[in-house]
């Protein structure tokens, strides 16, 4: 309660207008535009090398954009140095100073900015209370576990009391269990402080679990910018479809008649001159006595559900995620059915979603 009252921070809008960055012949970003609303959690998602880090560093001011404008809190900060932008950042390697204690690390920025000592200690106390790292204050980073280092890095971001927090794959150095725990903690922290979060990851489960808004990047462009639920239910491109979900969406190449080649039906898409991809999520498929004919190659029992790997037609591959334990021998012939709303069609050449008559 008292902590909430002391807070004078809350999020600020972050806007990018046509931000581009290239080094010689390599283009890391080409014309990114996006809007992160104040106090929301935005995840920049994409495969390695797509420009996520570059984008984040441009927002932080650590990297200069070749073109475009960055606005934070309605202010054009494109030409401002990092320290004047009102951003805090958590780095992938945590970037803790090895020669300083935990307490000195957390207060490093406050000291550099000559924040008065009582104020420094008050902010330190608050961060320590939020993160539960009181017993670590006198240690050096080398004496901490990965999870503890992560907390200290978060502490440094908290005491900055900046309206915008940037994180670059902050969980990638942790083991799976700790990662899930820190994910919840970071989300709770963002909600509690009300700051705007710009969070970079290549892990789509992190994005789906944490984000209010997912910005999917590919080769330096925004592939899709949508809330996680929309990105899941209406992927804008075949790339987005194949990037989201565990396992990701099945994409089957259709013949001109709209069928999977080598099967006698059913017709999945309308007959088209251009090549078409049909997308169906593995969890949308159910066993039936009609529908897509498939041959089971291998089944993986995961406890809550079973992932069945099947071959369809001449060269198609289909993954089905079925609830519970499904005992079907390898090599068996089955049929999969699905609801009409679960079928997504994409243009094979451009990858764009083909609008379907509702």
């Amino acid at each position: 309660m008292t902590i909430r009252n002391q807070m004078n921070e809350s999020g600020a809008d972050v806007r990018l207008h046509g931000v581009a960055r290239s080094w010689g012949a390599t283009t890391a970003l080409s014309g990114i535009s996006l809007h992160v609303r104040a106090g929301s959690f935005c995840v920049l998602l994409g495969p390695s090398g797509c420009g996520k880090t570059t984008c984040l560093r441009i927002v932080a001011g650590l990297e200069q954009a070749s073109a475009g404008v960055v606005e934070i809190g309605g202010r054009d900060v494109t030409a401002l140095p990092p320290a004047q932008r009102g951003v805090a950042m958590v780095f992938q390697s945590y970037a803790l100073f090895p020669h300083l204690t935990v307490a000195e690390n957390i207060m490093f920025g406050l000291k550099a900015r000559s924040v008065p000592k009582p104020d420094r200690l008050r902010r330190l106390d608050r961060a320590v209370e939020i993160l539960g790292i009181g017993h670590l204050l006198a240690r050096r980073p080398g004496q901490l576990s990965g999870g503890q280092q992560q907390r200290v890095a978060l502490g440094r971001a908290i005491v900055a009391e900046a309206p915008v927090c940037l994180m670059d794959e902050p969980l990638s150095n942790l083991d799976a269990q700790l990662r899930a725990e820190m994910r919840r903690e970071i989300l709770a922290l963002q909600r509690r402080l009300g700051i705007t979060m710009l969070y970079v990851t290549h892990d789509q489960t992190e994005a789906m679990g944490m984000a209010d808004q997912v910005v999917l990047l590919r080769d330096g462009r925004v592939e899709q910018d949508a809330p996680p639920a929309d990105m899941y239910s209406r992927p804008a491109t075949s790339f987005a479809a194949s990037f989201i979900g565990t396992p990701p969406m099945n994409l089957l190449k259709l013949s001109h008649e709209g069928m999977v080649p080598g099967t006698g039906g059913p017709v999945l898409g309308p007959p088209r001159a251009a090549a078409t991809l049909a997308g169906i999520r593995p969890e949308a498929l159910r066993l039936s006595d009609h529908g897509i004919p498939a041959e089971v190659t291998h089944a993986e029992y995961l406890g809550a559900d079973t992932v069945m790997v099947c071959s369809v037609g001449a060269e198609g591959r289909l993954l089905a995620r079925l609830p519970g334990r499904v005992a079907i021998a390898d090599g068996a012939l089955v049929h999969f059915d699905f609801g009409p709303a679960d079928l997504h069609l994409f243009d094979a050449a451009t990858g764009h979603r083909i609008p379907q008559p509702a």
Binding site: R57, A60, G61, L62, P81, P82, A83, V87, A88, M89, F91, Q92, S93, A95, F97, P98, H99, F108, G109, A112, R113, R156, A160
Partner: protein, 287 residues
């Protein structure tokens, strides 16, 4: 098949194990030999310095110990003044080298400017020039500057050190870029980052380089000999040589006493901080 393979194994193990043991012994013997050769003059100096002159060339386990030689040597020449001169000299050089090499190394390591690599190559060229080659040239320069026979003149040619720049540059380059970024984000200026991030992280290098520099200039002889000609500027090495050649004739007891006295502080300091020094050298990557 398998029986034969197993039967072969002990022999093979012995064959593999033998060679390292053989070379290991050679290494140990070699190391001891080198150590002995290195320490013999020192042992002789210690023996002679602490025994009466009569025992200078005669070994007798029960020879009486004495500090008389040390006392004679100390009184025979203004060694107190020489100590002061040398201390001022090495301190001046060390401080100036740290102050000058740090920003230069930082610029070469982390800043981008046209011609950086070319300028750095020129700095590295200095490593290949033997200081003694420049003796005459340096002397002329000091005459022009009116600095002949000053401590500053002894120090001046060494204040900018290519070795120091090179060493610190390598260390600064190994500082993770993210630490620099973090400090920049927290509002540190360029000098602030240098002072709060790079210099503390390079501490082992500073210690190792400092040791090299101090011992080199503590022992440096030729240039100080050329540029100084009075008691108030002479460092220990020059003072010692003048003392050993003209003033005393060849009294080995007193000469060794004076030698031990002048190199003593360095020796003691090294023995005291041996572990830190070795660790620093390891960490700084000089061996």
């Amino acid at each position: 098949m398998s029986g034969r393979a197993i039967g072969l194994q002990p022999a093979r193990i012995r064959a593999i194990g033998m060679a390292p043991i053989g070379t290991r012994w050679l290494e140990i013997v070699g190391a001891w030999m080198l150590g002995l050769i290195w320490v013999l003059p020192l042992l002789y100096a210690v023996w002679t310095a602490f025994h009466p002159a009569a025992y200078a060339t005669r070994f007798d386990l029960f020879a009486p110990l004495t500090l008389h030689n040390i006392q004679l040597a100390w009184e025979a020449a203004p060694f107190a003044r020489y100590f002061l001169n040398t201390t001022i000299l090495v301190t001046l050089i060390l401080v100036a080298q740290f102050v000058l090499c740090t920003p230069a190394a930082f610029a070469f390591a982390r800043m981008e400017f046209p011609g950086r690599d070319f300028v750095f190559a020129i700095v590295l060229l200095q490593l290949m020039v033997m200081p003694d080659v420049l003796l005459v040239g340096n002397y002329r320069t000091m005459v022009h500057l009116g600095l002949v026979d000053t401590i500053l003149a002894i120090a001046l040619p060494y204040l900018g050190s290519a070795f120091g720049i090179f060493l610190l540059r390598q260390t600064f380059r190994m500082v993770p870029q993210e630490l620099d970024d973090a400090a920049r984000l927290e509002g540190c200026s360029l000098l602030g980052r240098l002072w709060r991030v790079y210099v503390p992280l390079a501490k082992p290098t500073y210690i190792a380089y400092g040791l090299v520099s101090v011992s080199y200039h503590w022992n440096n002889f030729l240039w100080p000999l050329v540029i100084t000609n009075s008691v108030t500027t002479r460092p220990l090495t020059v003072g010692l040589s003048i003392f050993a050649s003209t003033d005393q004739g060849i009294d080995w007891s007193i000469i060794t006493a004076a030698t031990l006295m002048t190199s003593g502080p360095l020796l003691i300091a090294f023995l005291l901080f041996q572990r830190q020094f070795v660790q620093s050298f390891m960490r700084a990557g000089i061996r």
